[in-house]
């Protein structure tokens, strides 16, 4: 897929909750094709301590409105500057980058999409694309508390949504891997994105139950296009770039101790 450098315009910037901003970006020209699970490198302006672009997963693509969405979790000065963007501001982005999630081959494939925290973001676009293919995914979304679970109304448009929170304030109490849906339903594949301990627990569950499983990694990266070799993950073929060969990896390729 051809990669582009684009100066996009902020159509809206909505604070979903403390520390989380949903940026909707648009352009006068049609946006390029993007796959669910791919990401963009966002340029940060006006930060004295941020030098590199910030890799952020594609949250959603609204073709009718010609918008691409990014859910920004403000964790440092770079992401805080991105979170301060206002409607009408310009943002330089490089996209689409990386490979994306595996799409179902048959409409009756049972796909479970497991997300934790801001890692739920790319699963929304995955849900939309699957829905357009005639599939109905199952979402299993987890957070520490109810407020961590965002965009639930949109997730419900595309599939069945199951929730866990560590404090029990929403959905079942506990971790995603403890949710009753896992024992109630057989899944053909699991795609997951979230904190590494969560993804490792999901991968462990999938391996034990012989379910095909892929994880979306977020190793620290610089270039985003496979040039600098900084973001490597150790795999059964040696070090490979997460930005180019990932960010989505089948767990069979990884050397995780699970």
């Amino acid at each position: 897929m051809k990669k582009h450098i684009l100066d996009l315009t902020v159509a809206s910037a909505e604070h979903l909750r403390e520390g989380y901003v949903l940026l909707k970006l648009t352009d006068v020209n049609p946006l390029p094709e993007m796959l669910p699970g791919q990401f963009a490198e966002l340029k940060v302006e006006g930060s004295e301590v941020t030098f590199l672009r910030r890799p952020i997963s594609i949250n959603f693509v609204d073709k009718e409105k010609n918008e691409v969405w990014f859910l920004i979790h403000e964790v440092g000065d770079g992401t805080r500057k991105l979170g301060q963007l206002k409607q009408g501001d310009k943002l330089n982005v490089v996209l689409p980058l990386g490979n994306g999630f595996t799409l179902p081959v048959h409409v009756d494939e049972k796909v479970l999409l497991v997300g934790g925290g801001v890692g739920t973001a790319p699963l929304l676009y995955m849900g939309k694309v699957m829905s357009e293919m005639g599939c109905r995914p199952t979402f299993l979304l987890g957070g520490r508390t109810a407020g961590d679970l965002m965009q639930l109304e949109q997730f419900r448009q595309y599939g069945d949504v199951y929730l866990t929170t560590e404090d029990g304030s929403e959905g079942e109490k506990g971790y995603v891997t403890q949710h009753s849906i896992l024992t109630a339903t057989h899944f053909d594949r699991i795609s997951t994105c979230g904190p590494k301990p969560m993804m490792m627990a999901v991968a462990r569950y999938a391996k034990a139950n012989e379910i095909d499983c892929e994880v979306s990694l977020e190793n620290m990266m610089a270039c985003g296009v496979g040039a600098c070799l900084c973001c490597v993950e150790n795999t059964n073929e040696g070090h490979v770039c997460v930005c180019k060969e990932g960010p989505v990896f089948n767990i069979k390729r990884l050397l995780w101790q699970i």
């Binding site: 990669k3 340029k43 610089a222 270039c223 496979g226 040039a227 600098c228 900084c230 040696g238 070090h239």
Partner: protein
Amino acid sequence: MADLSVKIGDLHLKNPVMTASGTFGYGLEFADFVNLEDIGGIIVKGTTLNPREGNPYPRMAETAQGMLNCVGLQNKGVDYFCEHIYPQIKDIRTNMIVNVSGSSREDYAECAARINELDKIPAIELNISCPNVKQGGMAFGVTTDGAASVVKAVREVYKKTLIVKLSPNVTDVAAIARSVEAEGADAVSLINTLMGMAIDIEKRRPVLSIATGGLSGPAVKPVALRMVWQVAKAVKIPVVGLGGIMNAQDAIEFLLAGASAIEIGTANFIDPAVTVKVAQGINDYLERHGCKSVSEIVGALEV
């Protein structure tokens, strides 16, 4: 349009902008962003005789106006390069230059000899300055005898343009430059990264897997500029300047300090199309100052 062409040894560059090794892949990674043929030269990822897995993750730390890396020369070796990568890049109509590294004089020479056989590779950049490998690399580049010995071994087997990439982690960079000039280097390029470090205060551990790494980006530019200026005065062979160049103004500073050409490295990560913008910006500067060719400003610094 001013004449931007530059000659380095037997190399003819259509403009003085090249890409720094390890920051531009094999060029192909940036083909969506720029017309590769508009770049004076593309110096591809460091290549060694044998495959190298490089250092463990994490390999990168962002710093104020720069970044540290400790990639450690990850590459699939010269055989893989010749068989699988060369066919993909040989018809790109610019100078495709291979950065060659090694852990012994024999490794450097054998790798260079293999590259010498490739018709469409008109030059190599000899990396005697990588700070991220235990053996070889920078160990050769920090003494005049070490640097001279590697260049001598390679010069015997490598017949095309030989650029030697120098380390800034030395007391007297001009002395190193003179030592490689004496052994037949056609040009020197500098600076490679400055050795540095970053610490995670919560974990009380280094951020990078091998504790130290090489610093690049605008943070190193003043140091690089000073060294290029010193080396350009010390040697007769052309100097290729690099270190933190982000735009045409930075590039012109290096040209004025005595560099005949420049390399752009870390800036490719911030703007993947920066190379062609810098070439255009150099042209604009030359026209604004009534210069017919870029050679008029090389070393034109008035002190």
